[in-house]
């Protein structure tokens, strides 16, 4: 399931990100690519150990933690330090699947990549092309969101970024290991949580049915979570 979440960063935050990024030297994006994807990857990245990537990455993580929809949809256990990329005219990233396991550089932490995230940092009118195309069992879905919005999708999906033909597509991307490994189970929990949120607004948090459902939600997490 592909989930788009609006307004993870506001316009002021996006402007700050863009300002920091414009003053930084970018490197070839193949430094973090796996063996298959390095053949089809053609873009620029902020050096992942550089001060800019680290500062902005921490800001992204703060914004994610403050976003209940993201937490509900991803149920994150470990998040890879966010990376940042830039596609200028002529850049693209061909069809690939992300590596299953990612080590966090200079730590012993390994992450199973259950979910991939792209946080858009350029508005759609800044560039042509550059759509993120995700293939799932239902077909290909094209994603191009306003700056500050993100898309969350299973890392098992084949995906690509179309060639940019005008302007620049700037984004943050990263992976996460969810407490809930199975995509089907995670979507079910997301559906349940969203329904409970809706009912709580209508009936009040103290309504006996809402209390019972909240118990069901947490008991399901208890049964399924890896923590």
């Amino acid at each position: 399931m592909l989930i788009c979440i609006p307004d993870v960063l506001d316009a002021r935050q996006v402007a700050y990100f863009r300002d920091v990024m414009s003053q930084t030297v970018w490197e070839d994006g193949r430094t973090t690519a796996g063996s298959q994807s390095s053949l089809v990857k053609n873009n620029l990245q902020l050096p992942q150990d550089g001060a800019a990537a680290r500062e902005l990455g921490d800001l992204v993580l703060d914004a994610l933690a403050a976003c209940p929809t993201f937490v509900s949809a991803a149920l994150p256990l470990r998040i890879f330090p966010p990376l940042f990329n830039r596609y200028g005219a002529g850049h693209d990233f061909g069809l690939h699947v992300d590596n299953a396991i990612r080590g966090v550089p200079r730590t012993s932490v390994r992450i199973r990549t259950d979910l991939s995230v792209t946080l858009f940092l350029a508005d759609p009118d800044e560039y042509d092309g550059g759509e993120l195309v995700i293939e799932d069992h239902y077909g290909a879905q094209e994603v191009k969101l306003p700056a500050g919005h993100l898309v969350l999708y299973p890392s098992t999906s084949l995906h690509l970024v179309r060639e940019v033909t005008r302007g620049e597509r700037v984004a943050s991307f990263f992976w996460l290991q969810s407490m809930i490994r199975d995509n089907v189970v995670r979507s079910l929990l997301f559906d349940l949580d969203q329904t409970i949120q809706g009912l709580t607004e209508r009936l009040g948090a103290g309504d006996p049915a809402c209390v019972k459902l909240t118990g069901v939600y947490h008991n399901l997490i208890r049964i399924w979570a890896e923590a």
């Binding site: 089907v184 559906d191 049915a209 019972k212």
Partner: protein
């Protein structure tokens, strides 16, 4: 979790059962005691493979499998042919756990006994003592229900029938293999169903949130059921 379901049989049906049973030949209950020593179990039973037992059992199952309260609590896959027993003054069944797997000689049906069911066929005023006592992780539950009601509980829980000191306690009992093997999971699904049953009359069965919860319920069954 021990669950009591009222009014599974009408009082008229109970009276019909009793008039046939009270006139029948009963035998010593030791023949179905499994590995339990005879000192643990003292009661009478209708011969389990006899025509009467089977006929009443069929009729009982017809009422039970169409009862929403029982279906929600047990999520039954296979049901062992019901047996009928009677505890008179001095009879008892000491603390025990039911055999894990039961095969029926007549039908060849073999089931994993996930749940035990007692259907009460005497009114509480007809006898003293004879409580069904079920010990779970938290508590010891004493159960003595009106005729026509049933109690369903995990066959893995220790349970006993306390000595009858007056009158006679007549009941049917049988085992169920549930589509949902694990008790904690079955409990969560039961709670979700209970919340839906509570919300549907308040908000309407076609309410969007009620529909979504119904979807979650069926997706949980799809995920976990063995059929």
């Amino acid at each position: 979790m021990l669950i009591c379901v009222p009014d599974v049989l009408s009082k008229e049906t109970v009276a019909q059962f009793r008039s046939v049973m009270d006139a029948a030949e009963w035998e010593d209950g030791a023949s179905t005691a499994g590995a339990q020593p005879p000192s643990v179990k003292s009661n009478e039973q209708l011969p389990p493979n006899g025509e009467l037992s089977r006929r009443l059992g069929e009729r009982l199952l017809q009422a039970i499998v169409s009862h929403p309260g029982f279906v929600a609590a047990a999520i039954p896959l296979r049901i062992y042919p019901p047996m009928f027993n009677r505890y008179r003054v001095g009879h008892r069944f000491g603390v025990h756990v039911d055999n894990a797997v039961r095969g029926d000689a007549l039908t060849g049906v073999r089931i994993r006994a996930d749940l035990a069911v007692t259907v009460f066929l005497s009114e509480p005023e007809e006898y003293d003592g004879g409580e069904l006592v079920v010990d779970d992780a938290y508590d010891s539950h004493q159960v003595k229900l009106p005729a026509g009601a049933l109690a369903v509980y995990p066959a893995s829980d220790l349970h006993m029938i306390s000595p009858v000191t007056r009158g006679a306690r007549v009941a049917s009992f049988f085992w169920v293999q549930s589509m949902i093997r694990q008790e904690s999971v079955r409990d969560v699904i039961y709670d979700l169903d209970a919340a839906i049953q509570q919300l549907a009359p308040r908000l309407g069965g076609d309410d969007e949130d009620v529909m979504k919860l119904g979807g979650v319920y069926h997706n949980l069954i799809r995920h976990w059921s063995e059929v």
